[in-house]
Amino acid sequence: MVSDAQAVQWLLYGGAFGLVVIGVFGLLALNNAFRLLLALIILESGANLLLVLSGFREQGMAPIILSTQAQAGIMNDPVPQALVLTAIVIGVGVQALALTLILRVKQRYQTLDMRQIKALMEKDISEQHQVAHLSSYESPAQISAGRESDKA
């Protein structure tokens, strides 16, 4: 059987990489915009766990000094913990901003399906720049003839 330390190593790495892979798969395969936000949250949690894992030492203690006289022994690395502290708070700010953008998209397009939003946005952009829409069935000559008759 594997030793204790090796089992702990496999479990922790498996958990962190599992979260990252689930987050990436969710970002690629989901259609609802709100679920994309949830997958992004999972991906951020996996990345933060990986950062803290990089400063972990076997039998290490928390990086807090209890008294000046006694030297504590092995301590974990305080630098990745400070970075993850900042990263978690930034993550929640980014989540609030993403939620605001989802709210505005819902107000504008009345749907949260990413495929429909993509199609509607393409139509809006081509109408705004007066070019032929990508999936329209008219030839360019018909479109310019239609535009001439509209202007006249």
Binding site: D4, A7, V8, L11, L12, G14, G15, G18, L19, I22, G23, F25, G26, A29, L30, N31, N32, F34, R35, L37, L38, A39, I41, I42, S45, N48, L49, V52, L53, F56, G60, M61, A62, I64, N76, Q81, A82, V84, L85, I88, V89, G91, V92, Q95, A96, L99, I102, L103, K106, T111, L112, D113, Q116
Partner: protein
């Protein structure tokens, strides 16, 4: 200790999978709260108390509050509507 860690990581990965696959939106937000809770326990195991306190305050507190407000504004806050029709 190793058994406790294995159970926590198993629950965390199951909850992360169910965030993607549960049809009801409220359940998905709850599952992401469970992921944050298990992550806090793992940070305590890794002897990082500052990070565990931050993850508990933000993941389980403020993050879930932001997602709940988002659920209400988007109209997903109903238990009987089976998921999102525009999936």
């Amino acid at each position: 200790m190793v058994l406790w860690l294995a159970i926590t990581i198993a629950i965390m990965l199951l909850a992360a999978l169910s965030v993607l696959f549960l049809p009801n939106m409220i359940a998905a937000v709850m599952a992401s709260s469970v992921v944050s809770l298990c992550l806090t326990l793992i940070f305590v195991f890794l002897k990082a108390p500052d990070v565990a306190m931050t993850e508990a305050a933000i993941g389980a507190g403020l993050g879930s509050l932001i997602l709940a407000i988002g659920l209400k504004k988007l109209g997903y806050l109903s238990l009987d509507k089976q998921g999102d029709q525009d999936e």
